[in-house]
């Protein structure tokens, strides 16, 4: 369905990455390998460092140790605008659209790096994928509903036909049905079409359902990783979210 939406995926790897602010590591020694056609998800309780890890991969938070590369090119601590040119599309959790700009203008900024004549064609492809946005092209992004806004945020990234999609809690504050649709229909769809998808998700079970590989973060480190089927039955997995009762 979205064969033309994103270009064939590239491998995104993080090797022993530690990252944080002011020289203080919030995540430590993390290895990630996201490959084309697969969804790799990162789950874990609030404050476990999921978002920080993602931000460090796309150049928003400094990497203090370790290496990040995409398609074999080292992007460790490259500025975000350079990471974007290498085909990595990043959707942050909050502030994910330009609120005073219209939907159309948001998409145009998404296609900022494209040659001018390619913009209409890409926009058509994105709108094909998110038809709901078609009727609200001249509306300000700040006036959209939560679900529409997230579609726009992803649409903005898809304008560049990214080979790697990096999504930070795309379902936060979405109604459950919308969230499920977003994950199962769209996000899984990107991977099925050959993209590389790296997803941070707080709806852990839903994330497991669409993932090929999952990392569970706790206290800034990977506490578990593996195929979703193995994880779901692992008692440590549930405990890492809801605590283990009396143990501490």
């Amino acid at each position: 369905m979205s064969a033309e939406l994103s270009t064939a995926g590239q491998v995104l790897t993080a090797h022993q990455v530690s990252a944080g602010y002011d020289g203080r590591a919030i995540v430590q020694g993390i290895d990630v390998e996201a490959t084309p056609g697969r969804v790799v998800s990162i789950v874990g309780p609030n404050g476990s460092g999921k978002s920080t890890l993602l931000k460090s991969l796309v150049g928003v938070v400094p990497v203090l140790a370790g290496r990040v590369s995409v398609g074999g090119v080292d992007i460790t601590n490259e500025p975000p605008e350079r990471v974007a040119t290498l085909g990595v599309g990043y959707v942050p959790q909050v502030d994910d659209v330009f609120t005073p700009l219209t939907v159309k203008e948001n998409l145009e900024i998404g296609g900022y790096l494209l040659a001018r004549q390619r913009v209409p064609e890409r926009m058509a492809a994105v709108l094909e994928f998110f038809p709901r946005l078609k009727s609200m092209m001249s509306r300000k992004a700040g006036k959209l509903s939560g679900g529409e806004r997230k579609m726009l945020a992803m649409g903005r990234v898809l304008m560049l036909a990214p080979s790697v999609l990096v999504l930070d809690e795309p379902t936060a504050n979405l109604a459950p049905l919308v969230a499920t649709q977003l994950l199962e229909e769209y996000i899984r769809g990107f991977a099925d079409a050959g993209s590389t998808v790296l997803l941070v998700e707080q709806r852990a079970k839903a994330a497991l359902r669409i993932s090929d590989h999952t990392l569970v973060l706790g206290g800034g480190r990977v506490v578990l990783s593996g195929a979703p089927a193995q994880l779901a039955d692992n008692p440590v997995f549930v405990e890492s979210f809801l605590g283990g009762g009396t143990r501490h």
Partner: protein
């Protein structure tokens, strides 16, 4: 001709000059969050470069104006690049940058005065014939200024709405991190914004000087108040708001001059500004930006 119409006529010219200036001023605030209180000194320095080209090198005033525009542009770029940006990188309180801006303003205004002295100057230029428009009298010069202002407003609107650069500028203002994630090189966009807004400062300074006829190094020192009033009226960082604010302030000051007392011309602008600061610091139609 009625007093009302004649003062409205003056008001429209003041508004035209002010609109050019305020749009540049508010664009700087939009992309860098700096209240550039040195804007007035950039204006008057540019006006003097125009004067030099006009009176000393004998260029036609309108050709010389291009020199003034270039001066404002380059000076503003350098100011942002070498003063404001380094200070901002230190994550200081906004008030520190305002104090720095005041220091820059002193340097700019009085540095100029040190060079040109305390006397008055005027351009070598004729006012042209008089035109009768809608019950108001204008000189050719005044009509040209209004036309320039209208042209500038249209050009800015076109820039912001239809060009890649303009959209990048608005995106950078709204959400700089997301703009970078979209591949926008925000540092370049910011520099370009200062070049453009600085050009507007240069243009505004020159037409301001043309409009007042005689000017000196400190003529634009209080102009910052009108700028602030117009900007806060339309909402800080909002170019269209700035146009509207400039129109209201320009006309209101001239009308109050005619009907209350010419000596209190500026007072209405002060009152509007203080009222806006107290009750609606994000403009008539604005809402506080989140995050």
């Amino acid at each position: 001709m009625s007093v009302f119409l004649s003062s409205l006529g003056f008001g429209i010219i003041s508004a035209a000059v002010l609109a050019i200036a305020t749009v540049g001023f508010t664009m700087q605030f939009a992309v860098t969050n700096v209240l550039n209180l040195a804007y007035g000194s950039v204006m008057i320095n540019s006006a003097f470069v125009t004067y030099y080209l006009n009176a000393h090198l004998g260029l036609n005033a309108w050709v010389a104006l291009l020199g003034g525009v270039a001066t404002g542009s380059v000076a503003s770029y350098l100011l942002n690049r070498f003063v404001y940006t380094p200070f901002q990188r230190r994550h200081l309180a906004p008030i520190t940058i305002v104090i720095v801006a005041l220091g820059v303003d002193l340097c700019g205004t009085f540095g100029l005065q040190a060079i040109v002295g305390g006397s008055y100057f005027s351009y070598r230029q004729s006012l042209g014939r008089e035109w009768h428009v809608l019950g108001m009298y204008y000189s050719t010069l005044q009509l040209t200024i209004i036309a320039i202002a209208l042209g500038v407003m249209l050009a800015v609107a076109w820039l912001l709405k239809y060009t890649r650069l303009g959209k990048a500028m608005r995106a950078t203002s709204a959400n700089p991190n997301l703009a970078r994630n979209s591949g926008v090189r925000t540092d370049r966009v910011i520099s370009t914004t200062w070049l453009i807004s600085g050009a507007l400062a240069g243009l505004a300074g020159t037409v301001f000087a043309m409009n007042t006829g005689v000017f000196e190094a400190t003529s634009a020192q209080l102009y910052i108040v009108l700028l602030l009033a117009a900007m806060f009226l339309g909402g800080p960082g909002e170019p269209y708001g700035a146009m509207l604010g400039a129109a209201i302030i320009g006309v209101a000051t001239e009308l109050s001059a005619a009907f209350i007392n010419p000596q209190y011309k500026m007072v209405i602008a002060f009152v509007i500004l203080l009222g806006m600061l107290m009750f609606r610091p994000f403009g008539l139609f604005g809402s506080e930006r989140t995050a």
